[in-house]
């Protein structure tokens, strides 16, 4: 290259982007413990697993109790009603939102369980949402039941008085 020839690398426009599309497809395994929970939902039942060591009832059942390390797999059917341990109000619309905002998402400690599950509460104004509310599952019609938490459409107030804080303080 002669001294006065322009350096092509120095004058060319920089490459700032390389499109590189990645698409990977997976077939996920729910596993024995989660499957037992999902199958029960198709049967209009909520089944967790008790740890044989610390006796806590996990919902869903777990391949290992995080405190004891053994499978929490002794089947325990819990109630389809329980106590709201915490909540938030969704006010931002997004594509997968189940309802137009605002609506209320909650953690519910079902009667007989030691771990809350997450679900939605309908039938109350967002400003009425509070810890300790007693709620009851509203299931889908029989022909719509399946191995999914969507078998429960949402929870509604059960009509019972609010639970005292002490009754769920250890399950937050």
């Amino acid at each position: 290259m002669s001294d006065d020839a322009p350096d092509a690398a120095a004058t060319a426009a920089p490459v700032t982007m390389v499109p590189s599309h990645v698409r990977l497809t997976y077939t996920v395994t729910a596993g024995r413990h989660l499957s037992s929970y999902l199958r029960a939902l198709a049967d209009r039942r909520i089944v967790g697993g008790r740890c044989p060591v610390c006796t806590k009832v996990y919902l869903p059942a777990r391949g290992a109790c995080p405190t004891c390390g053994v499978p929490a797999d002794q089947p325990v059917e819990v109630a389809d009603r329980g106590t709201v341990t915490t909540f938030c109000v969704i006010r931002i619309p997004f594509e997968a939102a189940p309802f137009p905002p605002p609506y209320v998402a909650v953690a519910i400690l079902l009667d007989g369980a030691d771990m809350p599950i997450f679900h939605l509460v309908r039938g109350i104004a967002p400003e009425e949402a509070r810890m300790g509310m007693r709620v009851q599952a509203r299931w889908v019609a029989d022909d719509q039941l399946g191995p999914t938490l969507a078998s429960i459409r949402w929870f509604e107030l059960s009509g019972e008085p609010d639970a005292a804080y002490e009754t769920y303080a250890n399950h937050l």
Binding site: V22, G31, G63, C65, G69, P71
Partner: protein, 372 residues
Amino acid sequence: MRDVAIIAFAQLPAVRRDTEREEVELVQPVVTAALAQAGLDRRDVGFTISGSCDYLLGRPFSFVAALDAVAPWPPIAESHVEMDGAWALYEAWARLQCGDVDTALIYAYGKSSLGELPDVLVQQLDPYYLAPLGADAISLAALQARALLDSGRADERRLAAVAARSRRAAAANPCAQRRSRREVDELLAEPYLVAPLRKHDCPPISDGACAVVLAAGDVARRLVPRPAWIRGIDHRIEPHQLGHRDLTRSPSTAEAAARAGAGPDAAPFDLVELHAPFSHQELILRDALGLPTDDGTADGIDDGDGGDGPAINPSGGALAANPMMVAGLTRLGEAAARLMAGDGRRALAHATSGPCLQQNLVCVLETDGGAP
């Protein structure tokens, strides 16, 4: 250096597709079995570390879900590598050198079956030059095999002999996946998968898990009668860009071996566990480790058929079962388990990672009285 030993090893039988169990359900039984062998409770473990890969499972932070198996509450001292569990063992060994804890639990798990493994492995390549080509792991290994054949240092019969020996050994290993005996001529009559590789030259796709317990000094001696002491351990890496490497050689293995005390002048080994997912890679590794590829027998491949060399891959190796992120740690565990059972006193164990033997770990194990 502090004396550290492998004192327990447990593994699940590898299977092509485990549709029953999710990750924590794979890990919980091997962790329980390894700790039981070591006579330890989960609460006794000083340091816990795992090896796994989110790309295999298709979701981020997947190792967190598997943690329940080690009872992480109340909080424990825990770490993770997005690598084969052999590298988790290396970190645990280094951690025990600090001297404040005496035991470590290492586990690895891989469900290679959830995605399309060849497509998943493309993602370990550089994103600009190689990944866009969709260069899958078998095709890259075939390029390496072709280069080795063209170098004149191997032929297809030697590759088939490695595969045949793997299957003979695996027949005695209940945790191996590919266990049917096949003779060399039979294997050579099969069509190519990706030339010059045939199916038997390539690893099976496997789901599995394993766990190892390490202990230091007198704690190891107290817990088990024959600890498998780690006399040396090292790992080295080569350039990411395949074009920058001589694919027919493994200088990173040679360097790691020299630093681990398995260099050319090292005392002989009773057994060797090599993590060679492809048949030709065993020959490249043996070359790098100074392990003769010609033991004087007809096929030139030592299989305990009268040759003088050490037993190579008595477990069957990665050609017999290859759960990703697990197969490397399994080599260390298999070698240690044989020493602890009295089948030899000195072993070399190797693990690899990345395409075409990019990164390599070498570990020298001995039981007491094993040093000549």
